[in-house]
Symmetry: C2
Subunit: 286 residues, 2 copies
């Protein structure tokens, strides 16, 4: 088990790690280049972003699987609430349903959902979470019919204003249990939760089949940019092994997804170098 | 009670709000100017920073009290652990004891303690917290003999790497209860805890006389700088009234201390304008 986990087959690659996340960053590889490079190194799978699919979700999904890789995830629907979401929650639901359709075409194993910030003028995290739960609950049957699992991702509390009013695993477990649907679970990301000493305790409150993703990177001790300065595993101070153990003890047995947003470092490098570094770090650090 | 709380007498001013926190910021008022300006507006008290005292702690303390103001706090000892603390924990203890002596001279009602980040190479928040608890426990009797209360302040999780391995009220309550000393308690700061839906539940685990400070500002929805872009009450999205109610229900009856680090906005303004704005916001928002 320990040996298997230290091989590239224990991890999937989120394309954001190769700089695909923002225009102007990264080498601009095509999905096909990413697929070939990941297959050559024996990774378990790939998680894509919607902007990379351009109407080719079915084709890219089949291409990935025929290369021997899983499509572990898709990122992500538009924000559901908050200052950067549609003012009308019916519009938010529509955006979520449309992205579920794309995930179904891709046959992605899960769709990562980042919920959006606190509703403007509300001053209420609870009220914002209630609105999120309502939208997600209304989309859940549609997700199930497309065989898409919705992975609610609690973000670091620093993003509560503009990106995610869902900022703790505790609140995410509450929401998941409240919705109580087979296709609504969690994604746990090292970057967002590494500081939370209640992680194991909170995940115990969740059915063991409800962790739909585990994302890894590292937290740099002196983080220069709160969005785009994530560390590669081994370069920071998070107890990645300990966190992985907690998530596995809570029932997760899928691959760990490497997701490193790094405008000032890793996105400036050749994607082949980045992938080779990940292979090395998985063997030595993970 | 509600009326009293909405008067300037319900709040104290942390001098950092006037840009005293960093060289080159703010109007550079002397402690005497701050004292006179706060007394004229009927605030409850002032919290100072050690760098402002320059060996005049006794004099400044007496000057504050003779103007009818309380010295609600002093900020702060050197970091106890982490990348920006002395490598030797005996040195950290020495720094803490020396700052306690300054607080005693000032007759400050509490000394705010920011504990420092995760110990380098440790990858262990728990181990770092254990080291902090050990140092604080060893200083507690000295603090009591100087009539200084040590207010452990949990910082926002975004600071865990370099400023505070103590990042949740839960962990701070645990540490306080574990040390179990009359002069070791908490400071609760809106900026650091506003996102935490367990605040009331956690404070219930604390003896009702152990909240030594309540710091207020606001969290701006789109925060541009994670250290120096705090909002004035009313300009952000934190439920300040709700948080105050929680802290009061947990037993705190002292003044709320306004602490706004704002290099790009409030520190650029005339301190008189800043103080007038606080008077207005206390009446309308707080």
């Amino acid at each position: 088990m320990q040996n298997l986990s230290c091989a590239p087959s224990a991890v999937a690659i989120n394309t954001a790690t190769l700089g695909h996340i923002l225009d102007g960053h990264g080498a601009g590889w095509s999905p096909e280049q990413v697929i070939d490079a990941c297959a050559a190194r024996g990774f378990a799978g790939i998680a894509f972003w919607t902007r990379e699919l351009n109407g080719r979700a079915v084709e890219i999904g089949e291409r990935t699987r025929s290369a021997g890789l899983r499509v572990t995830g898709l990122c992500r629907p538009p924000y559901l609430v908050g200052p950067n979401a549609p003012a009308d929650q019916a519009e938010s639901l529509k955006g979520l349903l449309e992205t579920i359709d794309v995930a179904a075409e891709l046959k992605a194993e899960s769709l990562t959902v980042v919920v959006g910030g606190v509703i403007p003028e509300s001053r209420s995290i609870v009220g914002s979470l209630n609105a999120v739960a309502d939208i997600v609950a209304r989309a859940a049957d549609h997700a199930a019919s497309g065989n898409v699992r919705l992975a609610l991702e609690p973000l670091h509390p620093v993003y509560a204003g503009d990106r995610s009013c869902l900022v703790t695993v505790r609140d995410a477990v509450d929401m998941c249990n409240r919705i109580g649907h087979s296709h609504v679970g969690l994604a746990v990301d090292v970057y967002h939760v590494w500081w939370d000493l209640t992680l194991a305790e909170q995940l115990q409150r969740l059915p063991s089949d409800k962790i739909f993703g585990f994302h890894i990177c590292d937290w740099l001790a002196e983080t220069r940019d709160i969005l785009l300065d994530r560390g590669m595993m081994g370069d920071g101070i998070a107890d990645i092994r300990g966190l992985r153990k907690i998530v596995e003890n809570a029932g997760y047995s899928g691959p760990s997804e490497v997701e490193v947003f790094s405008a000032g470092n890793w996105w400036l490098r050749d994607p082949d170098e980045v992938l080779d570094t990940i292979v090395e770090r998985v063997r030595t650090v993970f």
